[in-house]
Every structure is written in C-alpha cells, then in structure tokens.
C-alpha cells in the first residue's frame, strides 16, 4: 500500500477492491456544532466517507472545511467539497493546504450551483477556475508539489481527488467525454448525480466502460431515496440537470398514504442491487438528504454492512 495517493479510508477501500459506500452531510445553517454532530453520528462506521457540502444550492451554511474537521474529530472520514463559485485561485489553494493540514484526505471538486438559486442571489460570482481546472490544480499541488504558478509547496497536500458527473444533463453524448476529461485532469474517483432514470444510466455506463474509463477511475453511482411524492415532483421540475421519470412519480403515488417513503427506499434498494452487478461501478454514493438517521437502516437492508476495515 505504499503507492497510495492520499491514504484516505475511501482510497484504501476502493484500492482493496471493495464496493465503496459513501454518504453525505450538509453543514448546518449556523454554527450549531451539536446539530452537525447529531447528523453525522448515524453515519459513523456505516459509510466509508461522508461528503460535506459547500454552500450547497448556493445557500450559506457553515463552511465545508470547518464542518469536515468537526466530522474528523467525531471519527467520521470527510470528503471535503469545494465549488468554484465562491473562491478565486488564491482562496482555493490556501483552503486546500488548510484542509490537508487539518487531516482531511478526500476532496470533491465541483462547479457549484449558480448563486441565482440560493439565498444571496445578489452576490458576485467568482468562477476564476472551472471544476476541470480545479481538479488539475489539486493534482498538480499533490503530485508535483507546486502551486498553480509553479512555485514550490512546503509539504504538498496529498488528497484523494474526486469529481462529479451528471449523466442526465445535456448534451447527453458529450457527458461521457466530460467524464473522461475529468479523469484525464486528475480525478481519482467520481460520484454521479442522483440516478432515477435507470435506462439512461445503463447507456451511460456502457459508453464509459467501452471507453475504459472505469479502469482509470473509481465510479460511484449516486442514490437519493425519495421521501415523498412532493420531493419527486420538486426534483423533476426545479433541480437543474435532474431526470426523474414519470413512472417513478407514479409508482410513489401508487404506494398510498404513509407508505411513500418506504416505496422510495425500496426503489433505492433495487437500484443498489443492480449497481452492485453493473460493470464499471466501484461503489454507491448515498445522498440521503436530511435523512442521515435512516442511512444505517438503508445500508443494512442494502447488504453493504459491515464496512470493510482497511
């Protein structure tokens, strides 16, 4: 195991060939540490790493790096997220050094939702770098020990580099190329957007496998259980780049009063079963939005427990 890039738990699990299982935790809208700890507690030992979102949907929350360090203290491995919307290259690099210094070992690089969706639509947007350039910068910092400008870094940050992929955004034919581009830029692992349209995802994965992308990078399939019909409708209409087939909305509606959430979980479990066998996938990324306490039960029923100790 000397050739590890970061030595993070997630990297070790994937490298050892285990089917990875990651979770997600949104920091609180405030400095409420107890709230954060409470949300993170059910995830401990149940997932291999926990994504800590960065002002997700452009709504201000506790910073991703601070929340990540709190998770670390709680014995939960964070996957620190960074978006390109709010920081220029100076702030990005200094935060990258900072999180590494605090013991964080995974980082997910994202473009970020436009601030127009959030609670400060008046803000200036930065986008000094795009997500592709961010990935490549983190790799350069890690592997070459250099800042973007070529200056040497005194103790380079050794991070396991993640990126996102949305197979459901347009133009569809370009999506797999964009994935390849992210891998070439330096992504070690990929977490996909929440998957609901299975036909389209199968097609996407087939293209990815045909291009051999799964051999260059670990691909984790994104799963978010639907809690209600309203949530499904909201996701279908309001969330950019989300593909929720009408058949799923119908199925949830058909479950009847009080049983929709269970039907949503069942759908996720069926997905996970298929993903375990699907060629090219290395794991699942479970984004149980404001449902962290249900993750142990979902993990148990999905048969992904206990998590490997590596």
């Amino acid at each position: 195991m000397t050739d590890l890039k970061s030595g993070s738990n997630l990297e070790k699990v994937l490298k050892a060939g285990h089917f990875a299982f990651t979770g997600e935790c949104g920091p609180p809208k405030g400095s409420n540490v107890e709230h954060l700890k409470k949300k993170a507690a059910p995830l401990k030992g149940v997932v291999d790493a926990v994504n800590v979102t960065d002002n997700q949907t452009a709504v201000v929350r506790m910073s991703s790096w601070a929340a990540s360090t709190i998770l670390l203290q709680e014995g939960v491995e964070p996957n620190f997220q960074m978006v390109c919307r709010d920081r220029n290259r100076l702030a990005m690099q200094s935060d990258i050094l900072g999180v590494y210094a605090m013991g964080i070992r995974n980082m997910l690089c994202l473009s970020g939702d436009h601030q127009r969706f959030g609670n400060h639509p008046e803000a200036k947007n930065v986008y000094d770098l795009d997500s592709m350039q961010l990935i490549s910068m983190v790799k350069k910092m890690r592997d070459e020990g250099q800042f973007l400008n070529g200056e040497e870094i005194d103790v380079p940050p050794k991070l396991f580099i993640g990126a996102a992929s949305n197979p459901f955004a347009d133009p569809f034919e370009f999506r797999v190329h964009r994935l390849a581009k992210k891998i070439n830029a330096g992504a070690d692992f990929i977490q996909t957007q929440c998957i609901y349209n299975m036909d389209k995802f199968r097609e996407f994965m087939k293209m990815a496998v045909d291009m051999g992308l799964h051999e260059k990078c670990y691909i984790l399939a994104g799963v978010t259980p639907m809690k209600s019909v309203g949530m499904a409708q909201y996701m279908a209409k309001m969330v950019p780049g989300m593909d929720v087939p009408e058949s799923l909305v119908k199925r949830l509606r058909g479950a009847g009063k009080g049983k929709v959430a269970e039907e949503g979980i069942k759908f996720s479990l069926e997905q996970i079963e298929e993903f375990k066998e699907m060629e090219g996938l290395a794991g699942i990324h479970l984004m149980a939005i404001e449902w962290e306490h249900r993750v142990p039960e979902i993990a148990e029923r999905a048969g992904v427990l206990p998590r490997p100790k590596v």
Binding site: C84, R85, R89, S111, G112, D113, H114, R116, F117, N125, Y127, D128, L129, D130, S131, M132, Q133, S136, M137, L148, A164, S165, N166, A169, D170, P171, E173, F174, H177, R178, A180, K181, N184, A185, Q193, P240, G241
Partner: protein, 222 residues
C-alpha cells in the same frame, strides 16, 4: 455595440429633484442604435420629465441636444458654451458619456439616464443579447466562434456544467446554454476532439481583474 436600458422615471425624477433647468444630452453612437439614448429618446425623456414635474406643480425647464459621440473629447467640447446655464446635465449615453462629461466639466452635476448593460447586438427587433465581456484576450476561435466567458453563466472553459438541460442554461429557461451550442457545433463538424483537451485557467490580467485598462497605440499618439 454597447447596450443600455433607460432608467425608470422614478429614479430620474429623484435625481433632478432639486433642479429647475436641465440639459438632456443624447449620443448618436451605440445608444442610438439600441434605441435608448438617441435624439428620439432624448425628446421622449424631455417630455416625460416635464409632464411628471408639472403634475407635481413644479415646472422643469428642459433643453435637448444630441452629440455625435460622448466618448470623444472633441464632441463633448461642443456644449462648453451652454452647460453653465443648467443645474444639471442628464447624459443618455452609455456609462462612458457621463464620465467624459464629468471630467470635462468638473463643476457641473452630470447625471446618468441609462443603465449600461453589455456588449451585444440585436437578435431580433427589440431584443438585444450579450456577446462579449471584454476580457482583453479573445479566445473564441477555440470554442467554435462562441464566447463562454460572456455567455456561460459560470464562464466555464471546459464544457457544459451539470445543469445544462434541453439547450438551456440552469439559471433560466430564457437563457441559452452556450456550451450546448458549442458542443453541438463541434460534433456536427466532427471536431469534438478539440473540446477534449484541458483548457488551462484563464489569465484574467487583461480583463477588469487586472485593474482599469488602457490601450496605447504609439503610432497615433502625438
């Protein structure tokens, strides 16, 4: 051209609140072409202000004039003998005009009548769209002749974000996703490979980020 929109009447009335006599100055350049600050619009604004003030019971005296350009000292000079007779000068030119006026007539109150928005053009009668952000280092030949700096809501240089849907940008169904257009064009041309190389971070020094800019053309400087 430089595109602008006229400020709401309420805002303009507030600006001239304590004035009795104003000069409205139009410009025959871009703002004439985008129907916001030419002699026609100067006339309309003059009339509108007068009527509004009459309603308030306080008459406003308004003179009208339209210059060849307001971004040129030579033309700005043309009003030197008359500006003193007014409490304020309302410029209907883009943001450049009122500044050239302010610099030439430092004692005078110069008021902007338009909100300058972008460099663009008319896509159909009455509709203008942004095309360029003046980044100071044009690279559109890498993107099928289309500019992602000005036209992608995130100025992405390496392809469409995850919010692109049905050719539209994630910020609004009324905004085209320029990356969808770039990718579609390159695919049609069979030159997709050109989009697969990593485009390095943009050097923003030549853009506004590098500070206020200046163009010096030695051969013209006297």
């Amino acid at each position: 051209m430089i595109v602008a929109d006229r400020k709401p009447l309420k805002e303009l009335l507030e600006m001239v609140e304590d004035c009795d006599k104003v000069l409205i100055l139009g410009c025959k350049g871009c703002v004439t072409v985008c129907n916001v600050g030419g002699s026609k619009e100067v006339g309309i604004l003059a009339l509108t202000l007068k009527i509004a003030r009459k309603k308030e019971g306080r008459l406003l005296e308004v003179s009208e004039k339209t210059l060849e350009r307001q971004c040129d000292p030579e033309y700005v000079d043309e009003v030197k003998d008359i500006v003193d007779g007014y409490d304020a000068v309302i410029s209907m030119a883009c943001g450049v005009g009122p500044q050239f006026l302010s610099e030439r007539y430092p004692e005078k109150r110069i008021l902007p009548a338009v909100d300058t928005t972008f460099f663009g053009g008319a896509v159909q009668h009455g509709i203008w769209e942004e095309r360029c952000a003046g980044c100071g280092a044009c690279g559109i030949h890498h993107f099928g002749g289309l500019c992602p700096i000005a036209r992608c809501a995130k100025s992405l240089l390496n392809g469409p974000c995850g919010g692109s849907a049905d050719g539209k940008c994630e910020i609004s169904k009324d905004v085209d996703c320029i990356w969808d257009m770039i990718v579609t064009k390159k695919m049609k041309e069979g030159r997709l490979d050109e989009l697969l190389m990593l485009r390095p971070p943009k050097v923003w020094t030549t853009a506004r980020d590098g500070g206020p800019r200046k163009s010096v053309r030695e051969e013209l400087v006297q």
